[in-house]
Symmetry: C2
């Protein structure tokens, strides 16, 4: 029998309790050990809830109970999550979490505290909700030099873009509807501005490249400026607009760098990310031996996220007294400015710019929409961000969307 | 330093040597141990090959060398692969393999011999080539009751169907071309008749449902009868034809069963399998908490397959002296006859059958192709295979293709 404590009885915490109850028999079988929630920490009480009597309000009760071997931190936020996690690890308890903020901010420190205390700190649910991605990066893709991660890592923005694409709706209207359905927060900034996705990208990049990626150094652009006209252009190109979080290792002047950014991108049907719609997430990983592999699934939701959290609990039960190898080095990943990062761009300009477009971008193929007489769009050659910005400023463009091409 | 031996220096075996050489530094880092190939077993000699001096022709040299801790069996076939594997495990050496035939036939026995000798028998590369799927099923989806596995598990047939779809070519012509490019064997039966896919399905189902699935009990239908007209009908329906290997747990009259089959299916754009094209493979897994997750990647090829094999080597190095938990019970999985399995069917009938179609299948929506004046197609309601076959016989149909709908 292994006793655990759950910190936070919200969406994910109550999901963890439900998963452990509904699948108790098979989970205990796979863990080769009975798993029981002894405490649930929350500020609130839950009268009538089946776990009512397990609720405590004081973390010290959990910390000081030697019977508790595993702590599930699903509170979110940096404090007190950080303090509780650190204290639990130092007390010789393994911790698992869905808290991407905490992992992105303090991941390597907490892993190293865990290992110093011969316990584990796992965070499968911090990226991509229920999708198994952290464990595969750690224990499956071990023969590969992973050189690219490209993901649809935020369900809210993917839902909004899918609705805009499939129903021809405006960003504001879909957002309002998503808020009413509970797919978007009342303050949607973290999702729509890419702040959620960039933390997940930093975590995945840190594991893939074995250096710590600082999410604050990653260029981040949200989806708030995408319009129905942009969507129509995308359709005319046979492409889709997705908020991608992407990073790749590269060598500039003999020095290893990483280009990383979160931004809306146009993608074609040659990538399996093309058909990832609605609240689904997917992570495309490129290895130098494996080529592309993709992991797809529910990127959020109480039960899928809880499923990932509980898989960490099972792993921690299987490894009590042993530490799992983690390929996350505290040394900083060198995230280069994207100004030298090259790609194609889709550009919209007013109809009278044809000559300057030709002068700056050369001969281009116009993309025209029947309902937009006063403008046209075109796709550039591969250009660095810097080159593109200079040309775009000279021309005076309406807008641009980056294009993500698949590596060969 | 951990010394290993590679049995078989063909496509996969030479890939294993290449992966271990090219990614040596990072693999050794992840394994926390230097890995070195000491022997390569092959009947042939390889003069001029960098590993020339490691080649031996007698398995006993490997078996009797206590320095060899891990044996990589990439010979294929049942014998002598079975005998060598068993002997190696009994000698206290871990074994990993890409040999789906052997795993489908003797998996549980070999796992249990491994565990009795405190070593491991791993087979990540046996299903889906480089795609991480065995390890995720074992160590990531541990919180879920997995109730469905549906995969595109054979790259050759997927390539053929993709070419037929995208270029309007005939089966025979694409096959010939695939043979010339090395994507299909000279004797293509194992691929095109579904024999390869059914073994992989049996392995994945055994792990997912924790009972041994006997591939010989699984209904298997290949792609040889698919015609360009079928492809045109699929397009008219907005669907694609894929060779799917699918199994699901169900309860019939209070008894747990498993329905499993390999067959061409029509699938719609609501499943992420829809856009899995060419030689790529993908495995869709449904868990009762997680919902759908999909694993996508290169289903074959020397380096991707070798990448999966080497990831097993790394896992075995990390777990020397400890056995990994495997959820594969030797008890037989109850594979029910598909006659009561329900689904929709797409049916082609000659134009003069409209009345009997109506009598047997009710009011149907005709699907007509401009170049096929003498026939029409239609989609049935959900019917059991048995019900469908009875009705189809009464009508006298031209052909039928099963339809795979996504569970809600």
């Amino acid at each position: 029998m292994t006793k655990i404590a759950v910190l936070g009885y919200g969406t994910v915490g109550s999901g963890v309790a439900e998963v452990l109850t509904r699948n108790a028999k098979l989970i205990n079988n796979k863990a080769k050990e009975e798993i029981e929630i002894k405490y649930i920490l929350d500020l609130r009480d839950f009268p009538g809830d089946p776990n009512e009597k397990k609720v405590v309000h004081d973390f010290d009760i959990i910390l000081k109970d030697p019977e508790v071997r595993i702590v599930v931190e699903v509170m979110g936020g940096l404090h007190p999550a950080y303090d509780f996690t650190k204290a639990a690890l130092e007390a010789g308890k393994s911790v698992c979490t869905s808290n991407k903020e905490l992992v992105a901010e303090h991941g390597p420190e907490l892993i190293s505290i865990a290992h110093a205390n011969n316990v584990n700190y796992l965070f499968e649910a911090s990226c991509g909700g229920g999708i198994p991605i952290i464990r595969p990066l750690n224990s499956s893709l071990t023969a590969d030099d992973v050189d690219e991660i490209t993901g649809i890592l935020n369900g809210t923005t993917n839902y909004i873009l899918t609705e805009m694409t499939q129903k021809g709706l405006k960003y504001e209207d879909v957002l309002k509807d998503a808020q009413e359905r509970g797919y978007a927060e009342r303050n949607p900034e973290a999702d729509v501005e890419g702040y959620d996705a960039v933390r997940k990208l930093a975590i995945l990049s840190s594991l893939a490249y074995a250096r710590t990626a600082d999410y604050k150094k990653i260029y981040t652009e949200g989806i708030t400026k995408i319009t129905p006209d942009d969507i129509d252009y995308a359709k005319a190109l046979g492409m889709e607009i997705k908020l991608l979080a992407t990073s790749r290792k590269t060598i500039v002047d003999g020095v290893k760098h990483c280009y990383a950014l979160v931004s809306p991108f146009l993608i074609g049907q040659d990538t399996p990310l093309y058909s990832v719609n609605g609240v689904y997430n997917a992570i495309l990983v490129h290895g130098n031996m494996l080529g592309y592999a993709m992991f797809y699934g529910a990127g959020a939701g109480s039960l899928p996220t809880a499923s990932a959290v509980v898989s960490d609990v099972v792993d921690e039960v299987r490894h009590l007294g042993r530490t799992l190898v983690f390929n996350w080095n505290p040394a900083q990943l060198d995230i280069a400015s994207i100004e030298n990062d090259k790609r194609r761009f889709f550009v919209r300009v007013s109809a009278d710019k044809a000559d300057t477009v030709k002068a700056e971008f050369g001969e281009v193929k116009k993309v025209e929409l029947a309902n937009l007489k006063n403008e046209f769009g075109f796709v550039t050659e591969q250009l660095s961000e810097k080159e593109f910005n200079e040309k775009a400023e000279k021309v005076g463009i309406i807008s641009r969307i980056r294009i993500k091409d698949m590596a060969e």
